[in-house]
């Protein structure tokens, strides 16, 4: 999947996200970290650009959002409807059921999910053999990593200027974090 370089104006979020180069995903195992200060549109990028792109190309993906405590109800409901087994009561069990039930997924997006480090580690462990691309947002100093063979790439969000009520944010790939 390729996200073309250029500007994406998101008026309702008062953001203009400008991607400096085409973003190619899915050719080889990649762990893409979205980095930058709060309010620069990382979640917006995921929900308004990346996810619609994946849907448009019919690439199956899994997404755990920032408001996971809200999302978890939909996970439970979905598993209750689709699984023959009983839905797990505990979080690791629930995540295992959810991830393994969707083994067709190629991309896994985790937005600040490493605020639950043990669960994030667990998710990486059980999904590594079928996920090709991980996209994560993290504010941790040492983000939880999916490990080898995933190449770490960092997409950096930097504020550029104010433009007619919109905050222009440049998005560019930078070297791996030290």
């Amino acid at each position: 999947m390729r996200i073309l370089k250029g500007s994406h104006t998101l008026r309702e979020r008062r953001l203009k996200l400008t991607l400096s180069r085409d973003l190619e995903l899915g050719e080889r195992p990649v762990w893409l970290q979205l980095a930058g200060a709060n309010g620069l549109g990382k979640t917006t990028f995921i929900e308004k650009i990346l996810i619609p792109g994946l849907k448009g190309r019919k690439i199956p993906f899994l997404y755990l959002g920032q408001d996971f405590r809200t999302q978890v109800y939909t996970l439970k409901a979905l598993l209750a409807v689709e699984l023959k087994d009983r839905v797990a009561d505990d979080m690791p069990g629930l995540l295992t059921q959810w991830v393994t039930h969707h083994r067709q997924a190629k991309v896994l997006i985790l937005d600040e999910f490493d605020k639950y480090p043990a669960h994030a580690q667990h998710i990486f462990k059980i999904s590594r053999d079928f996920i090709r691309t991980y996209v994560t947002v993290s504010h941790a100093e040492q983000p939880v990593s999916p490990g080898a063979p995933f190449d770490k790439r960092v997409l950096l969000f930097r504020p550029a200027a104010r433009e007619g009520g919109l905050l222009r944010v440049g998005i560019e790939e930078s070297g791996p974090w030290s």
Partner: protein
């Protein structure tokens, strides 16, 4: 004062349903259309365009289904009747206007009104909890729907047949699970505060019970 307010609201509700839903103006297509328009305008004035549009969107599937069945029955002259289409049109107007009108009336009921109601504390807690859960549930629906649209079954690999039905089953179940938790939490908080308030107004017990004093 609160009793007068509740009485007025109940009277308005009774008048609305008595005249327009079960009463003499039910079959008046022009009246029903005008009422829907008025109710929509009132909703725009009382709430927001977004909320009003949300209610309209909620009604659209039901209204379209009603009209589709009405048209089908009309074409086949089911049970020898030739008024199916007109009947469906009336129902398609009555359903959204009743729902929006009811929602509109509920916006006039505040938490303070419920607190001032001269009823047993347990019933008051029920009402407050119910109102809190309903208002939270309304806001959370769109987010649940958004999440359900991101799951792999809704993207590829699954047959389209039944997918919509499954999604709405999940939506209702997620909402139920959420409201169940929310009601439990709200009730615990409410009961705790009620206990605290009754202790704190009980002759100097505040000093004993408040951790900061």
């Amino acid at each position: 004062m609160v009793l007068i307010k509740f009485s007025v609201l109940v009277c308005m509700l009774g008048l609305f349903f008595g005249c327009l839903v079960f009463g003499p103006w039910y079959a008046r297509l022009d009246v029903q259309a005008a009422v829907l328009l008025l109710v929509l305008l009132a909703s725009l004035w009382r709430t927001t365009a977004r909320e009003t549009w949300g209610l309209v969107k909620f009604c659209i599937p039901f209204v379209l289904t009603l009209l589709a069945f009405g048209l089908l029955f009309h074409l086949f002259r089911l049970l020898g009747r030739d008024d199916w289409l007109r009947d469906s049109l009336i129902k398609a107007l009555v359903f959204p206007s009743s729902l929006i009108f009811l929602k509109l009336l509920l916006t006039f009921v505040t938490y303070l009104d419920l607190l001032r109601l001269p009823i047993a504390t347990a019933r008051r807690v029920d009402l407050i909890t119910f109102k809190a859960a309903l208002s939270k549930g309304g806001r959370i629906m769109a987010r649940f729907k958004w999440y359900l649209d991101t799951y792999p079954g809704s993207v590829a690999g699954q047959p389209r047949k039944g997918a919509l039905l499954r999604k709405y089953a999940c939506l209702i179940m997620a909402l139920y699970l959420y409201l169940y938790d929310e009601i439990e939490t709200s009730r615990r908080v409410m009961e705790n505060r009620m206990r605290f308030l009754s202790r704190s107004t009980d002759g100097g017990a505040l000093e004993d019970s408040h951790p900061l004093i």
